[in-house]
Subunit: 407 residues, 2 copies
Amino acid sequence: MNKNVAIGQSGGPSAVINAALAGIMAEMFGQPGVGKVYGLRYGIDGLIKGDLADLEAFRPDASGKNEMLSLLKHTPAAYLGSCRHKLSETDTAEYDKIFENFRRNNIGYFFYIGGNDSMDTLHKLYLRSQERGEDIKMIGVPKTVDNDLVLTDHVPGYGSAAKYIATSMLDMTYDLRVYDKPSIIIAEMMGRHAGWLTAAAALAAENGSHDELMIYLPEIVFDVDKFVRDVKDRLENTPKLVLAVSEGLRFADGMFVSENEIIAERDAFGHAALAGCGKALTHFLKSNIKIKLRSVEFNVLQRSAGHCLSLTDVNESLLVGKTAARRALEGESGKVICIRRKAGDAYEIEMAAENVGDICNKEKPFPLEWITDDHFVTEDFFRYVKPLIQGEPELAMKDGLPRYISL
Amino acid sequence: MNKNVAIGQSGGPSAVINAALAGIMAEMFGQPGVGKVYGLRYGIDGLIKGDLADLEAFRPDASGKNEMLSLLKHTPAAYLGSCRHKLSETDTAEYDKIFENFRRNNIGYFFYIGGNDSMDTLHKLYLRSQERGEDIKMIGVPKTVDNDLVLTDHVPGYGSAAKYIATSMLDMTYDLRVYDKPSIIIAEMMGRHAGWLTAAAALAAENGSHDELMIYLPEIVFDVDKFVRDVKDRLENTPKLVLAVSEGLRFADGMFVSENEIIAERDAFGHAALAGCGKALTHFLKSNIKIKLRSVEFNVLQRSAGHCLSLTDVNESLLVGKTAARRALEGESGKVICIRRKAGDAYEIEMAAENVGDICNKEKPFPLEWITDDHFVTEDFFRYVKPLIQGEPELAMKDGLPRYISL
């Protein structure tokens, strides 16, 4: 008897999370033994409620083509909707509902696309399915702009976010140079505990010079006095500066710099919802240096800029999705698809799979040895990140704007 | 004897101000009677100081090509540097320096690219040149993302800024839809007195529905109570909203909404440097509605996003620059090149010239009759704006980022 497929998206949106969804569908539709493909509305919440969308409209035609599938590949955010629901360790009623909905919809394959919190969800479901003797192949598909998953070289979503950040920093640097007077732009990037996104600002340094650019990552304790001193020193030779700062900067006592400014709200995973680190730094500088200051937040655009995609990232997200599908069809379960970078100068990757229990709830920080004393990054980081932002997909356009699809 | 050319850029940067510069150069180089082409460093300040850059590197070769000229066309901000220097009515010493530098550099053609403040500078120089009997052909080349110049259908720079805003709003709307809970994003756009930029957010409304979108322009007096009431009403049917608001919103007493939050600094033209209208609105809502709120400023990116250009805008900016050059060569002076839209359904334009004295220091507001009671815009605006954002230039890319040039 045919088995059906359920796919969910979870955690923060990204510009290529839908490419992973497209990859899974492209591979699963039409496979022997595979029936319908369903999408969970708003992640695991949809599975608990039994809110599943039939994705039949994405079935490729005889020649393997489907226009909606093509559009989906370049649609940002999360087509199926997402959630930040942490499954309980103990509440069996929640699991009962989930497994009832699995059975009711005859699900044999379950794919969950997300970051380390989402992999926690997958891990719990996998353990429960083992306990309950349910034969559902469960595969995790990594996605996070934060790039902080362990056991994978990098994570789909990061390349496009890095490209958006680098491109916007480049545009802002050109804007900064326009007037003949000292000026500072402080640009704040996402990344609670890992500086990967903020470090991508380094890509905007042109022609080998980074005099205009100073980078502050959460991996290094933030010291206000040193910060003001270093910025003052830099201004003596370079009167126009762009500072790329992480939302997650902390003082030596562990307090977020942004907590000076706002009462942090906490989400379901207990993470503080940060905002305003850039504003806080603006205040520190304002009281010490007389100079024009601007603070800019890239905000949600850094994770959802469908208009500034890395082709490499899109293709890899698609490939990770397809690989997940193939592994599930081959009978694997409880695994997360990972990207390995092959040794050598040319950028080449291969797909691998790791146990979901080894990946969930862990964070990979930005390597300390890639951070320089003059607030920049080493060549090692450039070698790492450059391949990830290469290429631009040809977007379907309508009336001058990208054409996306909505559920 | 050959005469030389001087070109200046002034006021706020735009994504296509350099295309206008490229257009002037493409036309002036190699014309009989034309010698060197100079660029003013930092606008009129460069002319006062005698700080001129020789632009010989942009001279097209025998086949009419020049790689730097091609790159310049798609480089955002202001290649020559800009300023916000208001020329005195009475200080003759400043004019003496300017005309001395005109003579010393044998300038016969002067082009000034900018908005209404910059046209004030051009107007003053034109009047003084007449008084002093100086034969310098002076032509203004319009540029402003604000789109608020009179006597022209629209202004180069607006199309690309509108495209960036619409594209980013579209991406943000997709991000907004991801979670299954009520949420509001407030996006703040530039535009002190005119709502053209903010109105461009309307382009992000898809499939004829604008339920998710509310637009607040500075042409309509802002009323906090009505604002909170209207947002509450809209939330009843549409729990996820994007509000596009102008930085220039004012209360009935004329006070800027943003002045609740910050002490406005004033620039040389006496304009308040605004920030924080979106933040102020966030506060108004926060105290009345329990909902997740985010405020986003597009900040300098809306005027300098070289990565999101309208091809129509680039081509028109180039054409306006070329037309300015031709008019100067034909002996015109004291004029500003304007764009006329031909009657009829198809979008077609023609070039015209108006007296600089009729354009400077005036502002064209967004038409009140294009604003609807439900915080949106009419079809008339869509007919007006859609042609301006069409097409995407093929950017020169290097390592995944746009390739620009710097002086």
